[in-house]
Each structure stands twice: as C-alpha cells, then as structure tokens.
C-alpha cells in the first residue's frame, strides 16, 4: 500500500474518533446548559436531602469529560501511535 494512502487513512481515522468524541462532549454539555436554561425547577429537585439533580448532573459532566479524554488517549496510544511509527519508518 502506498505511503500517502496509509497516511490519509491514519489521519482520517484520527479525525473520525476526534469528531465523534467532540460531538459527544458537546451534546452532554449543551444538554446540561439547555436543562439549566429551560428546566430550572427540574434541576432544583432534590434526589436525596442536599443533593439536587442539577449538582449531580454538573459533577457528572466533569466526570464525562474525563472519560471521553481517557477513551481518546487509550485509542491514540494503542492504535494511532503505532500507525505513526510505521509511517515514520518508511520515510
């Protein structure tokens, strides 16, 4: 297979996962912001004494950001770096 073909495939794979993860982060975060903007009483409702749905979801958005970053790093360390190393070897 040609160098430029492999390069294109590798870059395309990285953009594919990068865009999916970015969209996932946007959906989660803007979903949260839209709830804040349009469903105020729902977010103020208490799940247990002291814990409102809003505070729980807010903390979960931060945790979700961690998880998405972790997914990307794991993918890139396992799949992307080896592809880059193979291409470099053929330079």
């Amino acid at each position: 297979m040609s160098f430029s073909g492999d390069l294109k495939r590798l870059n395309a794979a990285r953009w594919r996962i990068a865009i999916r993860l970015t969209l996932a982060m946007m959906v989660l975060y803007f979903g949260f912001i839209l709830l804040v903007a349009f469903r105020k009483p729902l977010l103020a409702s208490a799940l247990t004494p002291g814990l409102s749905l809003g505070i729980l979801l807010g903390a979960l958005v931060i945790v979700a950001a961690w998880i998405l970053v972790w997914i990307y790093v794991r993918w890139a360390n396992r799949n992307y770096d080896s592809g880059v190393a193979a291409l470099r070897g053929r330079l």
Partner: protein, 522 residues
C-alpha cells in the same frame, strides 16, 4: 463575624515574598539557559508531559477560577457552578481537535499552524490582532484581581499594588522566558491544588466529611432553590452563548496553545492535556465545596460586606476554618496564581508581536536569534506597562465576567481559523484573514453594544445587543465568513500545500529541517 481582611497579614506578606523569592530564583536559573528564541518561547522543548500538564493547569486556573467562582457560588449557589463546568469542557475539545496537530505543525504560536500552507504576512497580521485582543482582556481581569487582593491584604493603595504585580511578572518573562514561566506555573499549580484541598478538607470537617450535609445546610439556610438554577442565567440564550464561549474559547487561548510547543512531541502533548484535564477537573469539583462552604460558614452578608462581587469569599472561609495564618497562606497562593497567569499571558502577547508581526511580517521571515530575542523582550516590556495601565483604568470590573469575554473573543477570532486550517483542504489565506478579523471585530463590537457596557457603564436605558456574552453570534459568524470566502475565492496553492500538512500533522517534522510555511519552502 469580624475579619482581619484589610489589615496587613504577616503570613500573607511572608508568603508573597517567599513566592517572589523562589520564582525569581527559578528565573535566575532559567535565564542562564535562555539564549535563543527556541528557549525563550518554547523552553527548549524539553518539558515532560506531567510538567506541562501542571503548567497548563497553572496557566488556566486563574484568579477568576479560584477567587471568582468561589465567590459566585457563595453568592448565587448553583449558578456559579455553570462557570466551573464550562471552564472544564473546553479541555476535551483542545485534546481531540487541536493539541497534536498544533504540536506537529507549529514552532512558537498558533499562527504558525494557520500560516503553514497559506501566505504568511496576511495570516500573521490577523492572528496577531486576535491574540492581542484576547491577551489584553484576560490581562485586565488578572490585574484587577491582583490589585484588589494586595490592597486588602497589605493595606497598600490599589494603583501601587497593580504596579508591583506588573513589575515582578515582567522580571520573570524578560529574563527567564518560557522556562521560568513554566516552572512558576508548576509551583503555582501545586500550591493552588494543595491550598484548595486543605481549605475543602477543613470545611468538610465541619460536616462529617459529607458534601451532601454541606449542600443541605446551604439549602436549609438560604432556601432549597439555591441548589438549582436561578437568576444569574435569566436569559436562556445568554446561557447557551456563555456556554459556547467557554467550551470553544479554551482552544483559542494563545497562552494555552503556546504551551504545546514546550514538549518534545505530539504524544507528550496528548499526555499533558490528559494530566491538565484531570487536575483542572479536580480543582473545579473542589470549587463546589469552597463556594457552598463560604456561603454556609461565612455567610452571604459577611462576604458581600467585604467585596460586593464576592471575590474574597475563599479567603474569608480560610480565615474562619483555619485562622488568620491559614488565610495568609491562601492569600499568598491566590497571589501566586495571578502572577503566574499574568506572566503566561505576557509571553503569549510578546510572541504575537515579535514572532508573528516583527519576524514574519516586517522582516519577511528572516531575523537572527539575537534580534528576535531583543524584540520579544521589548514587546514584553511594552505589554507589562500596558497591563499596569489597563489594570488601573479598569478597577472595579467583575473578574469572572471579564474572563468570560476573553473566552468569547478567543472562540470567535482564533478557534475557527485554527480548526479549518488543519481540517479543510479548501481553506485559503483570504478565508483565514476574513474569519479571524470578523471574529475579533464582531466579538469586540457586540461586547461594546451589550448591556454590560451600554447599561452598566454608559448608563443607557437599553442596550442595542441584548446578550451579555457575544459567543452565540460571533462564533458561527466567523465560521460562516471563513467558508463563504474560501468557496468564493479558491486558492489552488493552499490546497496543494495540504498534502504536506497532512504528512507533517501525523509524523511531525522528524529529522528534516523545520520549514515554516510556503515563503521559506518554495
């Protein structure tokens, strides 16, 4: 309750001087190794992933985060958390879309990447305009925070306080460059995390280490609605606009983007973002505790009594749970925080002025290392003086809000052009220029027309533009202008350069000589 805030606090003063002494020592050591532009802007590209992660966190967790958000949560409850969360979600975007291409394609500034396959001069001028607008807004917020902090703790006049901060910061940047600035960020990051953990621990000790008991106490005292969204986001569209600015702005902040050049390769850039995201996330989760802790333990009236904006809430909380000595420690940490961020911003501004404007536009890409370094130092000194003057002029502005505006400018001016330049073959010089100038001008104009300036500052009855944050208009506008211009005026040479960009983005510059854009690589 009575507070000793406003009287000189010996531990705070000792802490200030200790931090200044340590950081000047670092600067002295770094200065001996800073002989060329590679060291001045990029710390010789020898920073490790963990070090850069801490330094990124240090650049990012500004006075707005520590003092501003704790104050916002203390005074308005849940609403303040919207800032905490928004400031974090920008980091995954930086990781997925920007960090690795940036590291492999550029040398010192993000305009290196935008200009990679485009015509140098027009792109650099537009990028420098955007960078400088962001840096100036961000600087004002930090200087105002620093001035107020020192005034309250030392009993010094506000103006003198601003001059002291500006001068000390300049000493790091002028002599130690990026290496000194990076180590100052690392020391500050560790101190800030330690301080926030101690303060949160001492606070939670009063609630059997159960955050829910703290939130419940806040609800009992101030009404349960304090735990849900309230008046701060009265306009839903404004809430979305602020959210867009916070999420996409991080990926356009010149002082953050510049940090990716201090590491040796793309993989280390990736590692450093994951450390930064973890550290910053923990810190923002702690702001939940600090804010509600100050609300319950100090009380909203006492916080407002010291500073109407609530910016001193974390310090008051420290005094109640740990005594004046602990408050002195936390104040010194807050001071270190501001000083470090100001140094990072000044360096980014100096890079835009000297690397982008002087070297690439005025000197056509040819300037000796000695000349570059001299111009960078003169630019830093000018920016330091500008920061002092603006800090004095804007006394009394709300710190977190000003930073929100800097994010809106960054998201509109820098982010669209940066993303499109690495992602879209059809992107052109004209499109980059139009997008960056439109983003900068539209966000600045809409800020001027917003209620914050028209109603609060100028005293008009209504504002022409109803939103307090321009992001929802100016970010899509910058993208639209970019796409429209690129489609109407295609640039075949720029498209030809895309294959080289794709190669470099994946494998890096490797052992081949670094070429920087088409002007030097015909």
């Amino acid at each position: 309750m009575t507070s000793s805030l406003g009287e000189p606090n010996l531990i705070a003063i000792a802490g200030f001087f200790l931090f200044i002494a340590v950081s000047l020592g670092i600067t002295y050591l770094a200065a001996r190794r800073t002989h060329d532009a590679e060291h001045f802007y990029a710390a010789g590209r020898n920073i490790t992933g963990l070090q850069n992660g801490l330094a990124l966190a240090g650049d990012y967790m500004s006075a707005a985060s520590f003092l501003g958000i704790a104050g916002l949560v203390a005074l308005s409850g849940f609403d303040g958390l919207i800032y905490s969360i928004g400031f974090l979600v920008g980091w995954p975007v930086v990781m997925f879309l920007i960090a690795e291409p940036l590291r492999n394609l550029g040398r010192f500034t993000f305009s290196d990447v935008v200009a990679f396959r485009l015509r140098q001069a027009p792109v650099r001028v537009a990028a420098a305009a955007g960078s400088l607008a962001v840096v100036v807004f961000y600087l004002i917020a930090q200087m105002v925070g620093a001035g107020n902090l020192i005034r309250l703790l030392f009993g010094l006049p506000y103006e003198l306080a601003v001059i002291i901060v500006g001068t000390v910061m300049l000493a790091y940047v002028l002599f130690g460059g990026m290496l000194a600035t990076t180590w100052v960020q690392i020391v500050k990051s560790v101190l800030l995390l330690l301080g926030a953990f101690l303060l949160a621990g001492l606070t939670l000790a009063r609630f059997d280490f159960n955050p829910l008991a703290l939130f419940q106490a806040a609800g009992d005292q101030y009404g349960r609605e304090i735990l849900g969204p309230g008046g701060l986001v009265s306009d839903p569209i404004d809430a979305v606009s602020l959210g867009m600015a916070l999420m996409l702005g991080t990926a356009g902040l010149p002082h953050i983007l510049m940090r990716f050049y201090t590491v040796p390769d793309a993989r280390t850039a990736r590692t450093s973002v994951s450390y930064a995201t973890a550290i910053i996330g923990v810190f923002y989760l702690l702001t939940f505790i600090l804010g509600f802790g100050a609300m319950v333990i100090v009380g909203q009236d006492a916080i407002r009594g010291v500073d109407a904006g609530g910016n001193m809430a974390a310090l008051l909380l420290a005094e109640v749970v740990g005594g004046p000595g602990f408050m002195g420690f936390i104040s010194a940490v807050a001071f270190a925080t501001i000083l470090a961020v100001v140094a990072g911003l000044t360096l980014a501004g100096a890079a835009a002025l000297s690397h982008d404007l002087w070297v690439h536009v005025i000197r056509g890409g040819h300037a000796s290392d000695k000349e570059q370094l001299r111009v960078a130092r003169v630019a830093s000194a000018l920016l330091g003086v500008l920061a002092i003057v603006l800090g004095i002029a804007f006394e009394g502005q709300n710190v977190a809000y000003m930073v929100g505006l800097a994010f809106a400018i960054a998201a509109s001016a820098n982010f669209p052009a940066l993303l499109l330049s690495v992602f879209w073959r059809g992107f052109t010089t004209r499109a980059a220029q139009a997008s960056m100038l439109t983003g900068t001008a539209s966000s600045l104009l809409l800020i001027y027309l917003s209620p914050a300036i028209q109603v609060d500052v100028l005293g008009n009855a209504v504002a022409v533009f109803p939103l307090r944050n321009p992001g929802i208009v100016s970010i899509p506008l910058a993208f639209l202008v970019a796409v429209a211009v690129a489609v109407l005026w295609p640039e075949p040479e720029a498209a030809d350069g895309f294959s080289e960009l794709e190669r470099r983005m994946a494998v890096g510059a490797g052992e081949t000589a670094r070429s920087n854009g088409r002007s030097r690589n015909p």
